[in-house]
């Protein structure tokens, strides 16, 4: 907070400074890296990416350059938190290694320590060796499949079930070692087959613990028990996702598949529109929105026609024909660049009308066009990305303002989901309010209707004039 206080006063001065200059640059809010690329693009092509609106003064809702610097500095500071993630991983890895080597140690220690007194290994005993080997292999593959997966997110607290399992395994192995140490090592037991069977029982028990892990960590969450209603604070758009028994943090990773959909542009437009609207009445609002709808539809029609006409000119060369005219042959990128100018203006206008111009840079559009040409897609397939709003992941990396989210709730975060729970996911620009509802318990009963019981009678009600 102190940092923010100190930065407040110079920020105001900066605000007044930006009032004077008619800044022809993309609206602030993008990270510094993208800003640079935007400027270099303008040097190449004047028409593209220009906005003629001047940003008059900063308010609390807009972010100035200093804020960007401060936020990126904050993100670098949080690298320290990653250590916590790695600490958990190392503990689990060490424990896993210990657990894996234990049965092998159980089997190998007697021959090493007291080979002379040991009974020779009979056929059954050797058969048990094979069994131990394969069970260990299965355990290894299973543990790798279950535990060694890339985590999608870093949770604020420890997983309850994972911790429980680790503790269980630890206690288990420790108790086995104690027994082994006392009853076998100290007394130098001669019965080698018994020792090998003991090692086999350990491996069996480990496999059962692995089964328990599968059930607790995976299966229990599969059956949908809750519905999450995710509402975006910027514009109220809501989605529903079905989930099983999860804890709060896990559910957040699964849900925001499509949180921000050019929310920056939209939230700023909302504020501008609200400022204008304060003086207008509801009637003007209606006409304004109708006019906007009409404009969007007209531009969309122009865009579709322009793109279709552009795509007609591209023809895929068959392999034999490629030797015929080497001068005119182009690769997808060149083909994209060749037809792009004819549709650029219509596309730019449409994006500006729907306030999407920040999400798509010229480079990304050219790449997408080359991609569509390579795979022989129709114009409609090319346009789908711009006409309909999609999940955030389809936009470039730079458009993601932050991958850092904060979970805010008035209840303990490690509790499981329950009906009526409400928590908020905050990122820099906006927040998502998540409402948890339980899927109702359905009581289904059966009723049989005899097909012959469908009988009907005609009931007339006539009125006659006499």
């Amino acid at each position: 907070e102190r940092n923010r206080e100190r930065h407040k006063s110079p920020r105001n001065k900066d605000g007044r400074g930006s009032e004077k200059s008619v800044t022809i640059q993309a609206p602030t809010g993008e990270p510094l890296l993208a800003n640079d690329s935007a400027r270099t693009e303008e040097a190449q092509d004047d028409n593209w990416g220009e906005t003629t609106t001047a940003i008059t003064g900063t308010s609390e809702h807009s972010i100035s350059q200093e804020d960007i610097a401060r936020i990126s500095k904050d993100m670098e500071d949080s690298v320290g938190l990653d250590c916590r993630r790695y600490l958990g991983l190392t503990v689990a890895a060490v424990l896993g290694l210990l657990v894996f080597l234990t049965p092998i140690a159980f089997i190998l220690l007697p021959p090493i320590l007291w080979r002379d007194e040991l009974e020779p290994c009979s056929t059954i005993c050797e058969g048990l060796f094979i069994s131990v080997a394969f069970k260990l292999l299965i355990l290894l593959i299973g543990t790798w499949a279950l535990f060694f997966r890339k985590q999608r997110a870093d949770m604020p607290r420890i997983f309850v079930f994972r911790a429980l399992l680790l503790v269980l395994i630890f206690l288990f192995v420790v108790s086995y070692w104690l027994f082994y140490g006392v009853r076998i090592l100290d007394s130098r037991d001669r019965n080698y087959q018994g020792i090998v069977q003991y090692a086999v029982s350990l491996v069996d028990a480990l496999l059962f613990i692995h089964y328990l892990a599968v059930v607790l960590l995976e299966l229990r969450q599969l059956q949908p028990m809750f519905t999450l209603q995710v509402v975006r604070s910027a514009d109220g758009e809501s989605r529903f996702y079905s989930l099983g028994h999860l804890s709060c943090p896990s559910s957040t990773v699964l849900s925001p598949k499509g949180p921000s959909n050019n929310a920056t542009g939209q939230s700023r437009a909302m504020i501008a529109a609200a400022a204008r609207r304060r003086d207008s009445s509801h009637n003007e609002l209606y006409y304004e929105e109708a006019e906007h709808e009409r404009r969007v539809k007209k531009r969309r029609a122009r865009l579709v026609v322009a793109v279709e006409e552009a795509f007609i000119h591209i023809q895929r060369l068959q392999a034999e024909e490629q030797q015929k005219a080497p001068g005119e042959v182009m690769d997808p990128r060149e083909a994209a660049q060749a037809i792009f100018p004819s549709m650029a203006r219509a596309l730019q206008k449409y994006l500006r009308t729907t306030r999407q111009q920040n999400s798509h840079s010229m480079e990304s559009i050219l790449q997408h066009l080359a991609f569509c040409i390579t795979h022989s897609m129709t114009p409609k397939a090319f346009l789908e990305r711009y006409l309909s709003a999609g999940p955030t992941l389809q936009y470039d990396r730079e458009r993601w303002l932050s991958t850092q989210w904060r979970l805010v709730s008035d209840e303990a975060v490690t509790n499981g989901l329950r009906d009526g729970l409400v928590f908020v996911l905050k990122c820099l620009d906006f927040s998502l309010v998540i409402n948890v509802k339980k899927i109702p318990f359905i009581m289904l009963s059966e009723e049989f209707i005899d097909p012959k019981s469908h009988k009907f009678v005609l009931r007339l009600q006539s009125e006659t004039s006499v």
């Binding site: 009931r459 007339l460 009600q461 009125e463 006659t464 004039s465």
Partner: protein
């Protein structure tokens, strides 16, 4: 004592409900319109109809013939027929156990120019009931 009333009610006289007790006798002179003789009202009901949809009957299983509409200035209105009346007899013929079409035929006989109806009204029925109780 219940006194039946005879005679036509001409001159647009509307019988005041509740003032007389017992069934009413209504004499309608048919009006000639072109080729047809019309009476100026509509009927509903009949033993082949659905009695539960009758808005005028008190007993919803009553399958009798009811007057559902009386046209303005027509012969029925002049004669004093009212909407909601139940027609018991037409020229001596019983109308309580007839089909809808039979009722229509009895009313629209071309040979008859005057029809004498025996009708009851709900208000009259209530008055009769009340006088019987008191």
């Amino acid at each position: 004592m219940l006194l039946p009333l005879w005679g036509p009610h001409l001159g647009g006289g509307c019988v005041q409900p509740g003032q007389v007790a017992g069934p009413q006798r209504v004499e309608i002179h048919k009006l000639r319109q072109g080729e047809n003789l019309i009476l100026g009202f509509s009927i509903g009901g009949g033993i082949d109809q659905d009695p539960s949809q009758n808005p005028f009957s008190e007993d919803k299983t009553d399958k009798g013939i009811y007057v559902t509409r009386v046209s303005e200035g027509g012969p029925a209105e002049i004669a004093g027929l009212q909407i909601g009346d139940k027609i018991m007899q037409v020229n001596g013929w019983d109308m309580t156990m007839v089909t809808h079409d039979q009722a229509r035929k009895r009313l629209t006989k071309r040979s008859e120019e005057v029809v004498r109806l025996l009708v009851t009204r709900q208000s009259l029925q209530k008055a009769v009931q009340q006088s019987m109780l008191s």
